[in-house]
Amino acid sequence: MSDPFRLPHRPARRLPAGGRVDRSAPLRFTYDGTRYTGLRGDTLASALLANGVAGASPSLYRGRPRGIATAGVEEPNALVQVAGPGSEPMLLATTLELYEGLTATGLSGRGRLDPGPDPAVYDKMHLHTEVLVVGAGPAGLAAALAAGRSGARVVLVDDQPEPGGSLLAGHEEIDGVPALDWVAAVREELAARPGVRILTRSTATGYYDHNYLLVAEHRTDHLGPHPVPGVSRQRLWHIRARRVVLATGSHERPMVFAGNDLPGVMSAAAVRAYVNRYAVLPGHRAVVLTTNDHAYATALDLVAAGAEVSALVDTRPEPPAGLVDAARRAGIEVVTGSCVVGAYGDAAVAAVRTAALDADDAVTGPVRDLACDLLAVSGGWSPAVQLWSQAQGTTRYDEDLAAFVPARAAQHVDIVGAARGVLDLAGCLDGGFAAGAEAARSAGFPAAVPATPANSGDTRPSRPRPVWLVPGEDGDPSTWHDHFVDLQRDATVADVHRAVRAGMRSVEHIKRYTTIGTAHDQGKASAVSATGVIARLLGARTPGDVGTTTYRGPYVPVPFALLAGRERGPLFDPVRTTAIHPWHTAHGAVFENVGQWQRPRYFPLAGEDMDAAVLRECRAARAGVAVMDATTLGKIDVIGPDAGAFLNRVYTNAFARLAVNSARYGMMCRADGMVFDDGVTLRLAEDHYLMTTTTGNAAGVLDWLEEWLQTEWPELRVRLTSVTEQWATVAVVGPRSREVLGALVPDLDVSNDAFPFMTARETRLANGVEARICRISFSGELAFEINVASWYGLAVWESVIEAGRPLGITPYGTETMHVLRAEKGYPIVGQDTDGTVTPWTWAWSGSSPGRRTSSENARSDGATPAAATAGNSSACCRSTRPCCCRRARSWSPTPKRPCPSGRWDMSPPATAAPPSAAPSPWR
């Protein structure tokens, strides 16, 4: 039986020697159901090319054949979904490191989210540093070295498995040794410095205000799809840097000609990377098309690797003689002042047609056919200014470079190397050393600029000649449906032409109309090419006259799982529970979330639905006795000699003259007069009030009070403390609540005269727990709220249940609370109000019988008419005292009987005959 991993009919494309791949480590993998082998050090893309596979699925809209076009993050075609737990879609074959057993499926521009759980762990790291260097190519390494030698803390991040950047794809020399030996020495020196951290496989994805960057680190993705015990799969680094040096390199642009999307049409720099770094020959018979010097190295490397280069087509009429001579010495025909005007083939490029261009980019002279299986294209270089622009740095169009280059920084950032348009190695090293030293110096660490070592790349490239729109052989731009501007979006010159004909002039409008630059690759390589096409169609002189679109993070796609980190499931949002929560859980409560609090909604008995349970709970509260956990109500201690004066100002009614151990309902308005919060405030001592707020608004009320105290009334001697969680509150509710109180606190006189409505008593329960008992009500029934220190909450709740059992005491939740309060017309701020309700409109709302005054919102307990006990005046708004609810000044509560129908005027429970009750089943 033959070896299933050998595919004898494909041409051998793995070079016999060289590259950064480990020939002793063959790796088996599966792509689109077929099994292949690659080597450690391969990306999925290089392994596919080594096997003669084009490596991309048909295009999204037009179903055209596509192939691997680049060797990096700018790849528009080679999207895959990787099998495994938490199968991840929309990964790039060009950045996916090969591992044993990798199973990938090509995607036509659209992936599929794995509905299963993702078993991997994602972490976050937070880091401060003096200098952050992004990119470990020659410029970034030089910057990190210069800064690191100063003793400053330095972080160097790079998205590749190893540093080197463009040096990985070439064969330059630095300091008399191969460049990668120099890289290794620099890495060794940096790694030995305690203040230096090197993050590989880490992409800086976002650059935010004040030098705050996010870096996505891939820790185990290159090992396989399964979680590695003890190691998070990815980490998101939150890095704050005093100084940032961007050495993010550049992307080689495609060119726009007929058939430029065929498999086999590839970036010239990518071809060089595949040959030199991965030891893969992407084609055997190549044509090289260039607008600049760089593709000459590709042509020479192809020849050296054994490929035939039929022609090197340079758009420039007079390219540098040295380059032309070198190419011709290698047997390459150099065709100057010309361009490829079309690529042809069925499933892949089989031939190209070239022609001479005049100064206006028009075809002159005959068109010539050249057979090939690879077209290496260099349309020029676009500095990777994405992070720079995210940081609000500006760019300008440089005619000499035919590129948008960084102009003015908006943060403490420098940009070096190819990212600022410096394309020669010597210039990258010079700039990196200088910027690294300067970054350290301005962060307070004196640094010298290291001398740039001798190197092989000290020739500055000559001027390119961009051809933004290669003319078709016939027709006009409206018919050029195979001149692709954005491969991922299948957008062509004809599409851009239609946008221009529709009257669009702004690059932002054309982008939205045609969707160019909006796909997975965000137009990293193609955006400036597209701008060039737009410029040509608009008759503009250069892309600089058109401008670029806005860059936004993330620079590369980031999984939501990484952004979420460990904040998933129960850790997504904190849950607050009361001291009594265990009892609620043990007794079958159904919970609801109120703000972050978990509150019992109702307590169903066996066989009960919510309606039945609520009816039963309401009946107990109205006719017998019931009990509710009211702990979640916000509580704020207001302490100080001016506490009363302060409350007078923040409430619409007065509190300064409230008697100690008495309570009063208050309403709070914003400066615009809208109701903001309400609640009962209790005076515990001359200089001590305890304010209650709505459950969901407790933090907001504290913020509001502190703001006014600190910014408008700093002269008031008042301190505010949130005590919501310090007190557990048990509300005992119903006509028979007094009997339960009597059993709980035998020493306290709880009669109506001795313990009137809206008063409080400090006492000790029979079980020895100190308690503050308030006679206040949110149900309209006789009710007592027992406040104890939180750690006694559960015990006191249980003793209330015990004491009430002979009376059939019934626990109830928020649903019954809402029925009870709604039946009495008590509003809840935030549920019955929406921020557009003034006390005035509230008082006159038709929600209850008859005219309603705000004081009726106060919670009467049925034993006492509300109006007689609630606020005594609308103090602040009629006075000249400063007040934050000046707009409410026209409102005044009219003391009157709450309800003409008499529905509210319940008899004091002390005289009512106790209804018969079965003992409570609650324990």
Binding site: H210, A410, A671, D672, D703, E707, Q710, T711, P882, R889
Partner: protein
């Protein structure tokens, strides 16, 4: 995300702070004396400069103190930090 130097706690992440809008908008001493448009001006009308802007911040997840900041609204550069109640420092353009 801004890095804000709280006058009491030092530099902290923006996450720890709440924004309080334009600084130096005092509550009118005599609200009753204002016309509706004057009152509306106090409530709702704020400056929106392109450049230095004095604004209030609260270190709500820290010391809970309010203070003032002069921030450049284009670059977000923080040009001054000073306690509430102090006059706005002179920022040279």
């Amino acid at each position: 995300m801004l890095l804000i130097a709280c006058p009491w706690c030092g530099e902290r992440e923006e996450l720890e702070f709440h924004y309080g809008g334009q600084a130096h908008v005092a509550h009118p001493a005599e609200p009753e004396g204002l016309s509706d448009s004057q009152w509306g001006e106090y409530l709702f009308v704020r400056d929106n400069p392109k450049g230095p802007f004095a604004e209030r911040w609260s270190h709500s997840a820290g010391c809970r103190r309010w203070f003032n900041v002069v921030r450049h609204t284009v670059t977000h550069e923080i040009l001054a930090v000073y306690p509430a109640g102090q006059p706005k420092p002179v920022i040279l353009p």
